[in-house]
């Protein structure tokens, strides 16, 4: 099994890449790019972590 830090690092790299491409392809001025990259990264990272936690928690809650 691959280690947790390695998997987390891969996940972060993927999220950063998607958010950079998203912020650069969305219409708008260049000075907003950094802000947009950070916000889309936060949303994506937080959203996926929340979803993962929910997927783990729901069966645990209902299984009791």
């Amino acid at each position: 099994m691959t280690s947790f830090p390695f998997t987390l690092a891969c996940f972060i790299v993927a999220c950063v890449s998607v958010s950079i491409v998203y912020s650069l392809t969305s219409p708008g001025s260049l000075d907003k790019v950094v802000k947009e990259t950070l916000s889309s990264f936060g949303l994506m990272f937080g959203g996926i972590i929340a979803l993962a936690v929910a997927i783990v928690l729901i069966p645990w809650l209902f299984g009791r």
Partner: protein
Amino acid sequence: MRKPKLLIALSGLVFPGLGHVLLGRRARGLVFFVVLSSLFFGGVFLEREFYTKFGHGLLRSKEEVVPYRSSGEDLEGVVDKTWKVIFVYAYPFFVGFGNYCIGLVFSDATAPLVAHIPGVQKATEIPVTTRDIGYCFALLAGLLNLLVMMDSFDIAANEEELARRKQS
């Protein structure tokens, strides 16, 4: 002069971000190139068996490849194989033929380095532990490049409108 928008969009098939560079947006094009190429090469590095997609690789002998590929090969049905061809072998092409060709050599050259990745215990485990993440990275790079290509097409198609907006 009006730029050929289809040609600009398709130039992303050579190298990611080339369409943006042709449109004069060099910084953006360079960022796309760096991000997508590093993602793709990261994927190729982790995937390791990338070179087998064109047979038994350019630099490796057949005997070296067969041992870990033959196990479980019988379990793959027609659907699995078709899925693999479409999503695993075809999508990395969208990251650019230039990158894809470099990836062939890169994969062979860096294959022994994968053994140093944390969590990889021994050489035979390499394809199992990192292959899926490698596939994901290569696929993601290809899909993101499709988005970048569409963006360059969009910019080329609406260049007059964009220039007018800038002036006003």
